[in-house]
């Protein structure tokens, strides 16, 4: 596609469902998911990639939804917290988060879960330092982080990853 345009058509999968949409080229992925798809579980915080609230999964990898254009998701498989919740892959982490009070307002939580799941998929038994390192790009204003690390560490100490 070489013709330059300000609107473009995209064909992608969102949470396993095939989707076809026409988007402004300036629409970023997280805004597309929230406003055009009603998937408001992913949040918008800093809009420059630092806070991690907009974290989604694209083709299996976590990315910042605020730093990707919807146009760039053409041909991709996007997973949000809604889809990952429904599939059950986050269940152990979610239960551990509840047990450890690892969420209060919940704004950072979807990003935290996706990032923690990303860590555990690559390394089922990370150390606390590894957990802190991997979650360093997800900011929480409520909990002070300790409970979040405790929750992930609990799952990390169990047999199989979440």
């Amino acid at each position: 596609m070489t013709h330059a345009r300000t609107e473009t058509e995209i064909t992608l999968k969102v949470n396993g469902e095939p989707l076809h949409a026409t988007v402004d080229t300036r629409l970023n992925l997280v805004d597309f998911l929230r406003s055009q798809q009603g998937l408001t579980g992913t949040h918008v915080g800093c809009e420059h990639g630092v806070c991690g609230a907009c974290t989604v999964r694209v083709d299996g990898r976590i990315v910042r939804g605020c730093l990707m254009l919807a146009a760039q998701a053409d041909g991709c498989a996007v997973d949000t917290i809604e889809g990952l919740d429904e599939s059950g892959v986050l269940a152990r982490l979610q239960q551990a988060f509840h047990r450890h009070n690892a969420l209060q307002c919940g704004f950072c939580t979807p990003g935290m879960l996706l990032t923690a799941a990303d860590l555990l998929a690559a390394d089922p038994h990370p150390s606390r330092d590894d957990i802190r390192e991997h979650l360093s790009g997800n900011y929480c204003r409520c909990t002070g982080y300790q409970a979040i690390v405790d929750a992930v560490a609990e799952v990390a100490g169990q047999g199989d990853p979440a």
Binding site: M1, N28, H48, G49, I62, R64, M68, Q72, E133
Partner: protein
């Protein structure tokens, strides 16, 4: 604030991208990882007329080792550099530095070429290119050009790349057997550096030149001749390390910023140089 309007093109070949870049009737920018460009556009600090999305040009990504040269394609994601056994074995200074670049989600999209093309003064990758004496390969409709890192970083976000040139790759000589040192200070994990030092030594013979690159302290990554002199020969003793550290910012116009004043940055450079070199010495001990 949301992105301003722009025209968007997604060429599927380098030649198609270059043809778009060659059209100077409008202000176009290359969209690679987008981790810096889209952030700037979110804040309307940048409003190009046209974004040329090169993410589908697969030939621009990948790391290979051919004829003694390690070539990192410009579109190679930071995550791929970080996971590469070739980089770990043959470019350990790069393998160390990439761990301080941002965060996992950023590294999954951000690219080596994007970092070097933008040349943020506080970024790690430009300093690594400089410390390693890498060659940057640029291409336009006019042909291909090879630019040594020493001639590449010219000023604040200013590189030797011309407006119609696309960075294709960076080429490195393997340095797996050579002493190296790296240290960075950032306020938060993954932040741009308040100050940083990347050092590659050569212990092949007593006068073998050292390369010391500083980042986060000036308008671009730059070398420290005053630190390089005592580190020639690649096997510095404690006195040489102290000498390099004490003089690392001599002759360098250090810029203060929101994170640290110029005197603070000078202090950080001295401390980081000393710590990095002592860590290097400790690694070499059996």
């Amino acid at each position: 604030m949301k992105l301003p309007a722009f025209a968007y093109a997604r060429p599927d070949s380098v030649d198609a991208a270059l043809a778009l870049l060659a059209d100077d009737s409008r202000d176009s920018r290359i969209l690679a990882g987008g981790q810096s460009l889209l952030a700037a556009m979110n804040f309307r600090l940048s409003s190009p007329d046209l974004l040329i999305d090169i993410n589908r040009i697969d030939t621009l990504a990948g790391i290979d080792h051919t004829d003694g040269v390690i070539r990192i394609g410009a579109l190679t994601r930071h995550a791929e550099v970080m996971a590469s056994p070739l980089v770990a074995a043959e470019l350990p200074l790069l393998a160390r530095a990439i761990r301080d670049v941002a965060h996992p989600a950023i590294r999954n999209r951000g690219t080596f070429g994007g970092s070097v093309a933008l040349a943020d003064p506080a970024a790690e990758m430009p300093a690594i290119a400089l410390a390693c004496g890498a060659t940057l390969v640029a291409r336009s409709t006019r042909g291909e050009r090879r630019i040594h890192a020493d001639d590449y970083f010219l000023g604040l976000y200013e590189t030797a790349l011309r407006s119609d040139e696309l960075l294709i790759a960076a080429e490195f000589a393997p340095h797996g057997a050579r002493p190296w040192a790296f240290a960075e200070q950032a306020r938060r994990r993954g932040d741009y550096a308040s100050a940083g030092v990347a050092i590659l030594l050569d212990d092949a013979h007593p006068n073998a030149p050292a390369r010391v690159a500083l980042f986060g302290v000036a308008d671009r990554a730059l070398r420290s001749p005053a630190a390089e002199r005592p580190l020639a020969g690649g096997a510095p003793d404690a006195a040489a390390i102290a000498d390099a550290a004490e003089h690392v910012c001599d002759g360098i116009d250090v810029f203060g910023d929101a994170h640290a004043s110029a005197p603070m940055k000078r202090h950080l450079c001295r401390v980081l140089t000393r710590r990095a070199l002592h860590a290097m010495t400790a690694r070499a001990e059996p």
